[in-house]
Amino acid sequence: MASVLTPGQRGPAVAGGLIALFLIFFLAVPMVQVVVVAFQDPNTGALTLINFVDFFRTSLFQESFINSFYVAAMSVVLSSFFALPLAYFTTRFNFGGALLIQTLGIIPLIMPPFVGAVAMALLFGTNGSVNLLLDEWFGFTIPFMEGLNGVIFVESIHYFPFILINLSAALNNIDRAMEESAQNLGASGTRLFRRIVFPLAMPGYVAGAALVFIKVFDDLGTPLLLNINNMLAPQAYLRITSIGISDPMGYVISVILVAFSLLSLWVSLLALRGKDYATVQKGGGGLVRRDLRNWEKNGCYAVVILILLLVLSPHLGLLLLSFGTIWSFSVLPDGYTIGHYVTVFSEASGYITNTLLYAGLAALFDVIIGTGIAYVVWRTGLPGRKWLDYGATAALAVPGVVIGIGYLRTYHGFNVPIVDQPLASWWVIIVVALTIRRLPYALRACVAALQQVSVTLEEAAENLGATKGRSVWRIVVPLMSGGILAGFVTSFATASVELSATLMLVAVDSDAPLAYGIYEFMQSAAGRGPGAALGVIGVVFVGLGTYISHRIIERGRVTRESTAIVAEGAFA
């Protein structure tokens, strides 16, 4: 093997090999383990479908399966309900609120749904602020948060931006000439919409909808915090934590979750593949926009403000909760205090330092591994290099709960030599889980950054006497640094509020990160205040991270534009 490698390939080959080992041990092996256990007779170890038969014969699991499916599907419907008017307003009209809507798109993403779930119950629950007001003014209430409704409501508010962003992008990419040529050929009004606009925008919508579906289907924290246990992810968690890692049901659910993840990834790929019409033609700049009449403008603003209020309600609720003294059976808290923050910083600062450590390490590993994979895949001719990319990207299809279960099962018996502790309950395993979970995103950032660096820049360095390693270190990495940094910050921000895998892997409270702390606090009525305060801190982390990475990418774009002049000639 080594003999076929040129001298310049040895370094990348070693790096690629190490990354492959990491992916095998912390992604492939645990996943195979999960699948094997799901198809194994718990007593004899023989290959069997008996676990799946048992699963579908148990009424609780039947119900959980139907509930998960129902909640995910209804979340797609409700998300579409939020996203469609917003996408339509911004792409069809000259509407002043367009920028507002685009910004609004990010807001829910910087806070995972479980963080705001309890606050939402206080705002929209049976005895929540909104229903108290409705009852007082109109004499009726709306069961926003009753049972599964609550999960659907909270998830939709958080995930509708996936649809909004994808759909807006698709609409914006439609060349004006396509609409105009349809008009020129005699189509107009609803026919034009049905035959031209709708089919062109459909792929974007489907991709967004598939993403919403799977995010909701896999989510563990939100149902748990809303006390809904008869769904798949909570059942997997409860089976493993209460009955133990030998109970096959947790594995059966894991396999179902992975299967649905793959299915929806496949659907969104299918929707987008070969349908990238828009990029075929440059220019145009979206559909024709028209000015709004005054009453129409007011109507649009009313809709946007209503949706904006809904979207911001978890944040508002969380803020109120974190500063409120007692908040029960009243529209607003009885009084305000900073006591919860004091409590958090004096008693629970471990959560914060743990989060900084775990998310920081995970983000660091992510960009190192991401850069390594990007380089090996795009810049070397090593055999099998594509599998590194596929492997790391496959993590997209694995829900956090499943990663957690896989690690517990695979590494509970593996003692780490020096610390003398099973790997599955050592804090490092949380870092590993976060690394694997965030790797697909970091990898894409690194690949994008690498593709901005022309190969000849590296060749020029080698030509002047720099070895492969020196060229990468002095030329490639510095030129990628903007993208790498953006990848780091995004990974850090999202890892710092990750709950599902963490929930399964935290062995002792002193090892727990922020997301786990929020979950713990929110379990009791007295802990809600400090829990909300922790939540606010988490949101600040993620918000800052998102902002910084956005700034880095913007700055990078400016630098790149000036260097693009240099690179332009390469393809002349």
Binding site: A460, E462, L464, G465, K468, V566, E568, G569
Partner: protein
């Protein structure tokens, strides 16, 4: 750089093959480039000329065959151990470094003392006349300046061979002519073995001592620019270098000696010992055009035809003359008041025997 006594190294290519996967892009190249020679690889895009250059520098797929630089086998060496300087088509200046850092890079990698590096960088920037721009970033330079910096960055490490990959293609027309003169002068001064890749025959003609014409991964012919133009070895070289008229037919024995017969035109008597299928190649400027049935001199060959198009190009008039199914291009010197042929005129073309190249393929 300080002296011109760096011993120039020759480059020998022996049976070199390069494949990208299943695509065989360089097929058994053999070439010997003399020390201190300015050598051009000329060919259309996809001919393998850049692949050959990159193979010498150590880039691209691992080739089979031998590459010798100054008699030393280098094919197994990685790019950073070959000490051949390459100037890239895109210049490949590093945008995150100043001009000075760019030029210093190769010396830093060679772990020279800081003062020595500074000294040599200054000399090198002076040589290309851009000392003032040392603290700029590449993006702040014009195309011509970037190119000089790229050249300075390569020359500062005193490479054994200088490789230039289409170095002028990103410059505008005027600058291109100026830069190719400067390149030639610099090369003469440094006596550095230089290989220049281009698809522009004028560039190759004006700069190089000798050149190799490549097509389809094969070296078609090697020689001085004039040799190749005057005595092309095959139809590709003949038509790629300038404009050429080609008549295909057979040379046969007749009572009056050799005669070239073609279904397209009347037989052409030739003074040759060769027989068999041949192509006659001749340049438009070597043909005289006259009204039909004009008397023929003994050392001339006459071909009859009809004017099918004319182009007035200023100093010349280019006639297209139908000879059977072929069209011959004829360049006629234009003088004020000289008679001009019109489309449809019957004409005779006169051609000196020694201006005809006879090719087998």
């Amino acid at each position: 750089m300080t002296s011109t006594d760096t011993t120039a190294a020759g480059v020998d290519i022996e049976n070199l093959n390069v494949s990208f996967g299943d695509t065989h892009v360089l097929k058994g190249a053999n070439l010997s480039i003399e020390p201190g020679e300015f050598f051009a690889f000329l060919g259309p895009s996809g001919s393998g000329k850049s692949t050959l250059l990159r193979a010498i520098a150590g880039f691209g797929p691992t080739p089979t065959g031998r590459i010798l630089i100054g008699g030393e086998e280098v094919a197994h060496l990685p790019p950073w151990k070959r000490n051949v300087g390459m100037v890239f088509q895109s210049y490949a200046l590093w945008p995150h470094m100043t001009v000075r850092r760019n030029v210093a890079f190769g010396l830093e990698e060679r772990k020279l003392p800081k003062r020595e590096i500074a000294r040599r960088v200054d000399i090198s920037l002076e040589m290309v006349g851009l000392v003032d721009l040392a603290e700029r970033r590449p993006a702040q330079l014009s195309g011509g300046q970037q190119q000089r910096i790229a050249l300075a960055r390569t020359l500062v490490v005193e490479p054994r061979v200088l490789l230039l990959d289409e170095p002028l293609s990103n410059l505008d027309a005027n600058l291109r002519i100026q830069m190719r003169r400067e390149l030639r002068e610099l090369q003469q001064k440094l006596q550095l073995t230089t290989i220049f890749v281009t698809h522009d025959q004028e560039e190759a003609n004006t700069t190089s001592d000798r050149m190799a014409v490549l097509n389809d991964g094969i070296i078609q012919q090697v020689g001085t620019p004039m040799e190749l133009y005057d005595n092309p070895a095959n139809l590709f070289v003949a038509t790629f270098l300038g404009t050429a008229n080609v008549l295909t037919g057979v040379v046969e024995d007749t009572d009056n000696g050799a005669q070239f017969g073609s279904s397209n035109c009347a037989p052409i008597p030739l003074d040759t010992e060769e027989r068999g299928p041949r192509s006659l190649v001749f340049r438009p400027q070597n043909i005289a055009i006259a009204p039909a049935n004009a008397p023929v001199a003994s050392d001339r060959v006459r071909i009859d035809g009809t004017v099918s198009h004319t182009e007035f190009l200023g100093s010349i008039i280019r006639y297209g003359v139908s000879v059977g199914a072929d069209t011959a291009l004829v360049d006629d010197q234009h003088r004020r008041g000289a008679p001009v042929f019109a489309i449809g005129d019957e004409v005779s073309l006169f051609l000196q025997q020694d201006q005809i190249t006879m090719l087998k393929d």
